[in-house]
Amino acid sequence: MSVAFDANPVKAMQSTHTHTPQTPSAQELSQEIKSFINGIDVAQGRKLSVREHARCAVRLLRLVPACRGAVLEHLRGVYDEHVSAFLHHLETDGDSSSGVSSNLEDIIQEIHSVLSEFIRLNPRAWAPLVSTWAVDLLGQLSSKHAGRRVAPHSSSLNELLQLWMSCAATRSLMEAYSQCLAAMLAWCPDACVDALLDTSVQHSPHFDWVVAHIGSAFPGTIISRVLACGLKDFCSHGTKDQGLMMMVVDKGSRVPKIGSVVGILGHLAAHHSDSIRKELLRMFQESLNPSSPLSPTSSSTSWESSPQLRRAAVPFLLQLAAMSPNLFGAVSAELVDLLRPPVLLQLQTLLQGIPREELDNMLGLAVHLISQSPSGGAKVLRFLADTATPASVIISGPTPSPHEGVREGCDRLLQMLLLHLHKLVFNRTDGVEVSPHHSSCMQPQRIIPFLEELQSHISQLCAETLRLERKRHLWLHQLLCLLSVYGGLTVATEAFCQLLTQARNPEELALAWQLHTMLSSCMVGLIPAAVTRCVAQIHTHTLGPRQLKQLLLNLATAIQSQEEDTKGLQSSMATQVGTAVSGHLQNFSGLLLHGDPTVSHAAVRLLSCSPLPRTSSPADLLLLSRAAVTHFFLVLRKQSEGTKAGRDGGQGSEAVNCSVKLLSRFAAYSALTLKAVLQQLIEGALHKGNTDLFGGQIAEMSGAPLTSPSASTDPGVSLLDINCRFGTAVNFTGSVWSVFHAGVIGKGLKVRTATKMPDPSWVIQNVQTLLAVIIQCCSPAGLNGSINGSQSQDEPAPINAEAAKVVAVTLVESVCPDVANGELSWPPEEHARTTVERDIHIRRCFEAHPVLFPLLQVVAAGRPALCYCSAVLRGLLATLLAHWEASREALSTDSPWHLQASCLLVSCMGEGQLLPPVLANVHEAFPHLSPFEVRLLLLTVWEYVRGNGPMPQKFVFSPDKGQFCRDFSRDGDVARYVAPIHSVLHKNIDRLGHLCWRFQL
């Protein structure tokens, strides 16, 4: 074969030597290799020391490329030896000879400098080689010596790091690796990180300190590379799972790298969570971008260029997130912000290429992640709901828009999420129920972070639910249910309360009932708790007037629903609500006087329909009755003002109706309440502030000097002076000071304040309302509610005697200030002079309060209650008698008020059966008579009453009429009182002829 130059190789060799004298000859090299292999100095025939051996290796590394592998392998031993010596030195606390370690340290330094020089000169060739070697050796060393006494436990990363970095060998390896990495990052970063990951998998957890150190030295790149490697690995494993694996041979045995990816990132997350988050999000975004293979930045190694990898990115990220809560937490918050419609479209197109089962897996994973996410749940939920909610019907045409797919996907995701949560929630409670023996603190309930977080967003959830958008409210409602079950009574209560507070119409309110129906099976006492909570909110003033109103109205509606639907599902609930509300009646009653009229209206609605508690303390009842009555007058005034202004009369009258209903129901509740209500009604009607409602004028009527002087008009009179003079302010009725009621002597009559007369029509209306209330309260039918209201239309229900008595007594108390001479029986007419003062007061009262007459009529209807008004009647009659006696007018009609008062008085007494019908009818003649004649007739009346005292015991209950009646036949003969009547008839027969039959006995 060899023709020309095979002749003399030795000569050729020699010529070689002359060329490069600085390098050793081939012969020497050959010797060196032999020495290295055998560990014996061939020339001198002695064994090489470790140090010499290593030197020899380094020389070979410099001179004979083929020895590279062997040299590196040998150096592993050297490093290992050094580490052993180092650790031994530590273990023996340095008392043994430390010569070996120091000896080796310089050789390691030498090796390191050679390697580092090589890497510096030719990174492309050396960096991959050295990095793999260094990482592998590091892994081996840290695994091997992990069990040493001085080596800290692998979990204490910092101590581990400190130990190894203080060892020259490992530090040198680490530096070499860092150098390689820095060099390789420019062109093939994947390779070095790959090696790192592989080793990490192999030697975990002892190797973690290396990753930690490298990671913190190159955070940005390591993170992205670790991710890219993980993705690649994930991708290849993923394809294997699908059975599409091409290269079957040796991949099967490999452990997926994702575990160590998670570990590494988890470690780095402590200090570089921000960059990790950015990197993860970037990965997500890049994976969505439509493929741009020609983009200048993407090299052949970057994962973005491979469509397969890009498709795997999203599942990969999900997997990562599933494996590390840290990473997931880092990303989840911002991820949602990224999901804008265009991104969603991209995502959809990306996911379309993924097979069905894998997609299902991904969905499952996503659902799991959402349910486990500790924060941002509300945001995620809003996003999902927003996206999944279909566009309005009008817009979505027959052809599905591209967004339709996205929407459906979200829809599906959301439904799966709900299903998943459902399972979690109910399995969880099941588990608790199954093992009731174990205390719950021993085995804490499984926590669902998603729901945990949403618990603080209940009010927003409720608000959104109540918006009743298609589909969305169904989802949210379901979620509310789950939340309530999950969070137990407190959460359920809150949700329920929120719904109650926020619902604005029956449809919305129905959601609350639905919630209750669903929860009722697993929760007891929801409604009482909810109502209690509402009350608490009322007390703390956390609700605005609008919400408060809504809440009250909703509660009222709830209770009323029972009446409409007696045997429906809601009835039990309505009852519960009713009971719960009735328990807090006094709290709601406070709202009757709320500054906002809508609130008080709502409150009256609620109270008017809520059942009353079985037992209640009198104090509460009194408070309630006081509030109700006050509210009644307020409403009445509102209504009047409303009608005057010509607006919302309907609402006003509705409010009044409610108020009336409340009062009547309340009055019917017990004797106590009846009395309280009536008393307060009367007092209220006569109260200074309310008189104008009923056509009254504000005039001083007490006769007390304290109230009478109006200091502005009478500067000359000082009450103080007067009081000083007499040393007392006691009211001596009938004394000289009573002159005050007409004015101060010497100053002329008091100027009557010109009160503007209210509109008679609404005065009438108000009076009617008041009477209606009182009558309703008084009528025994009120006890049975409005059931026989229709019957009372034809024949007014008889006034309850007891109630009428209350009215009577109250009237007397408020009209007649003086209890003296208050006996029922009447004295002779002359005796009336002793009570002039009082009588005048009474008359003034009647003048000031036109409503008194109708009230008297009511009393009269409730026989024999009018008897108790005897004093008032007497006083009034006395003043009337005095008036008619003094009157110099030609006709009675010239003093109209007195005429009317006389007529009304007599007719009342007739109605109340204080007078027999013959005498009662005299008032019919009054308008046609002269004052004197009127006086005559009235005197007759007086005489009769004096003769036949108005005693209640004279009345007998007649069951057929349902009320008390007086049998006049038992009294004295009426005929002797009729004579003056007949005389007057005779005198005026021309005018009174038509009335004669009324006075026949």
Binding site: F5, M13, R62, V64, P65, W126
Partner: protein, 448 residues
């Protein structure tokens, strides 16, 4: 020989390999003495080699035993001395072939790895017999594997170990045949098509040094090979001439591109300018062409053996035209610079074509050349070469036997006949293609 397997099995990896080598040596000696023609190593033996030396997995079930790097080094050392001590060339060849002859099976990978290390080591410790065997191996093996071996050696000596290139450089005196094959392999490997496929400067310097030292180095393989026509398919070219021409022609443009690419990063190796190296190389190549007529005539092959293949030239021309297009598009470097480099490349091509044709290394008609070069831009010299000596050779298909390169210029230069195209090409000099008009005298323009 197959019966020794049982005795090898219990041994440790290294001693088994050692023992097998020993047995192999004896076996081959016996084989040669038996005088069977051709001497053929049987399959059993080859399998043993694969199992105990290359450690290729025999079947799926048994995992292959692996040698550690140290053991491998020991084995290499043993092999080196084994080949060194074997005095008979034929035995060495057969043994080398038994060990490293490609079998087209899985063991080829480990075979190539071991071969790379062995040759690298042989270079380091100067084991000429191994290099000679390797040279033969390079002649016989598929070019893909040859290129891989060359790659390993270049990596080892030109990039991995700094300063070790001198070791490789010294080889040329020890085993020129190996050097020649190495150059062929290297020129095949580095076709200047990308940055990775650009030869390292050290390698280039070394090759230029080698060729300048002895021009005949290029032809040694050709000279020492009996031309039986039994050249294995897809093996390397007989001479590195084609590859070297390609290097010289493409270098101006390829290096310009590299420079542009490395400049912005700022970290590009600012090695010595390779321009002069390629000029020297080009000169050497032309000189080697000039040596050819004598050698070919001696062998009686003149006009019958083409050392430059027509199809490789066609590839070169198309690659060049693509490079020129790219150079035009990338206007990062000044246009004048680009223009000068393009013209340099075209000049070199023209020179190489002309000299090769004249010295019988390229056997083709000018028509064929025109077809190949039709897409190249205008170049005076190339135009000249393509048009050929029309004035003196009416039949341009006649091979220009023994045509002196110096004669090519003078006749046309003295005949600036018509100038019909004078204005047109000068308007767009860089886009002017190479339109050849038959029968039309070439308008010579001294300069643009």
């Amino acid at each position: 020989m197959g019966d020794i397997r049982q005795s090898l099995l219990p041994r440790d990896v290294l001693s088994a390999a050692k023992e097998l080598l020993y047995h192999l040596d004896i076996y081959i000696c016996n084989l040669l003495q038996s005088g069977r023609q051709p001497p053929q190593v049987d399959t059993k033996t080859l399998e043993l080699v694969e199992e105990f030396i290359l450690h290729a997995p025999k079947d799926r079930n048994t995992s292959a035993r692996r040698m550690s790097a140290l053991q491998e080094l020991q084995l290499l050392e043993i092999m080196c001395s084994c080949f060194q001590e074997q005095s008979r060339d034929a035995v060495r060849q057969l043994m080398f072939n038994a060990l490293f002859g490609l079998q087209g099976n899985q063991a080829d990978e480990s075979r190539m790895a071991l071969l790379g290390k062995l040759v690298s080591m042989a270079i380091a410790v100067g084991r000429v017999p191994i290099l000679e065997c390797a040279a033969t191996w390079l002649q016989r093996s598929h070019r893909v594997f040859c290129v891989r071996l060359a790659q390993v050696l270049v990596d080892d000596y030109c990039s991995m170990v700094p300063g070790s290139v001198s070791t490789l450089q010294n080889i040329h005196s020890a085993s020129p045949r190996f050097c020649c094959q190495f150059i062929t392999a290297v020129t095949t490997l580095y076709d200047l098509s990308s940055e990775e496929l650009t030869p390292p400067t050290e390698l280039l310097q070394m090759i230029v040094f080698w060729i300048q030292e002895d021009l005949r180095l290029i032809l040694i393989a050709f000279l020492n090979t009996p031309l039986t026509g039994s050249q294995p398919i897809s093996s390397l070219d007989v001479t590195p001439l084609g590859g070297l021409v390609r290097w010289c022609v493409k270098a101006p443009l390829a290096y310009r591109r590299d420079k542009k690419r490395t400049l912005p990063s700022g970290t590009g190796e600012t090695g010595p300018d390779v321009g002069p190296l390629f000029s020297a190389l080009h000169l050497s190549v032309l000189q080697v062409f000039m040596l050819l007529p004598n050698i070919l005539n001696e062998k009686g092959l003149f006009g019958r053996l083409a050392l430059l293949q027509m199809d490789s030239l066609a590839t070169l021309a198309s690659e060049l035209s693509r490079l020129l297009d790219q150079a035009d598009k990338q206007t990062h470097v000044s246009a004048a610079d680009t223009q000068a480099l393009s013209q340099l490349a075209l000049d070199r091509l023209a020179q190489a074509l002309q000299v090769a044709m004249a010295n019988g290394a390229l056997l083709c008609s000018r028509e064929d050349l025109r077809a190949i070069c039709s897409r190249l831009p205008h170049n005076n010299l190339l135009q000249l070469v393509l048009s050929g000596p029309v004035m003196y050779y009416n039949n341009i298909h006649t091979p220009p036997l023994a045509f002196s390169p110096h004669a090519a210029h003078s006749p046309i230069a003295s005949h600036p006949a018509h100038t019909p195209l004078a204005t047109h090409p000068s308007a767009h000099p860089q886009y002017a293609s190479q339109p050849f008009m038959t029968g039309m005298a070439f308008p010579f323009r001294p300069s643009h």
